[in-house]
């Protein structure tokens, strides 16, 4: 009785029996019986039902898969990839030589010559610049000015010019001392408005947001340019934002909020 080996045997036996029986039960019901019987009711053959239960083929064993003949109608043709994002981090000589043709409006160092009309590119995220160039070119964001400009650019050239301007420092000081935007606007920036389903602007455009890849930085752009873009999103005139991320936010904004937000970002240092 006190022989250790004999004391061990029942433990090993019962532990293994218990575990194997639970496993057998699960396989019988979860892998076979439930999917097969669900499949039979839904008109799916037993083999397919088991494949679906195991995740080898998509779909539920209990329902038909919906079909689609949808045609692609993308809002933008930009698709991010790890390689593309990586190449956008590298400023090259090619970018510098191409940038000459942009300097007439956006400045040699990425600071726009007429801020009310053209955005600053200095310090902008390279992904944001690239996305807009690409959209101008494909017509996702039609522009009488920009679409012809970028038509000749290749993929590599758009990457190079984006990386080039992104490397410049942001405009250092405001052009003129601007009034404060007020607490309500700052609330929209930091908290959003759950009543209107509006996330905080910071959720995408903040410095540490974890938001969409192509979200641009907004600080130091001119009030006029920012307000014009917000209005374009609000009216749907501009619609190259992926899955209406900006249109859905801009739509419920009031006119005075648009001006206030534009003022906020024009006069802020941090975002």
């Amino acid at each position: 009785m006190n022989d250790p080996d004999r004391l061990e045997q029942p433990w090993r036996l019962w532990a293994s029996v218990a575990i194997l029986s639970v496993f057998a039960f699960s396989v019988l019901f979860g892998f076979v019986l439930m999917p097969v019987m669900q499949g039979r009711a839904a008109g799916i053959d037993a083999f397919e039902a088991i494949c679906r239960a195991l995740g080898i083929t998509p779909g539920s064993p209990a329902a038909r898969q919906p079909t689609t003949n949808a045609k692609a109608q993308p809002a933008t043709r930009v698709a991010w990839s790890a390689d593309l994002l990586n190449s956008l981090t590298k400023a090259t000589a090619a970018g510098e030589s191409l940038a000459g043709s942009c300097a007439g409006c956006h400045g040699r160092d990425g600071r726009a010559v007429e801020v009310k009309l053209y955005p600053d590119l200095a310090g902008q995220s390279a992904a944001a610049i690239y996305k807009q160039l690409h959209d101008f070119k494909t017509g996702s964001r039609p522009s009488a000015l920009m679409t012809p400009m970028v038509q000749a650019l290749t993929e590599e050239q758009m990457v190079a010019v984006s990386a080039h301007f992104a490397a410049f420092p942001v405009r250092p000081i405001p052009a003129a001392q601007l009034p404060a935007a007020g607490a309500a606007i700052e609330g929209l920036v930091a908290r959003g408005d759950s009543g209107r389903g509006m996330p905080a602007c910071n959720a995408c455009h903040g410095d540490q947001s974890g938001g969409p890849t192509e979200a641009p930085r907004l600080s130091r752009q001119s009030r006029e340019y920012l307000a014009a873009q917000l209005r374009a999103f609000k009216t749907g005139e501009r619609r190259n934002d992926i899955y209406s991320r900006m249109r859905s936010v801009a739509a419920p904004l009031t006119e005075s909020e648009i001006d206030g937000l534009a003022l906020f970002y024009a006069s802020t240092r941090t975002y």
Partner: protein, 52 residues
Amino acid sequence: MNRREASDEDLERVMREVPRGAFALAGLAVGALLAAWLLIYFLVFLPRGMVG
């Protein structure tokens, strides 16, 4: 606060009863648990309909 060791006779005496009370208590608790689960299952879960 008397923490003296129980004598063997005391222990033997109570062990004639134990675990009747524990059976009753644990049984009530687990019965209530199962009843509550079944209530949620029949009154909330199934009426909310199929998903899959």
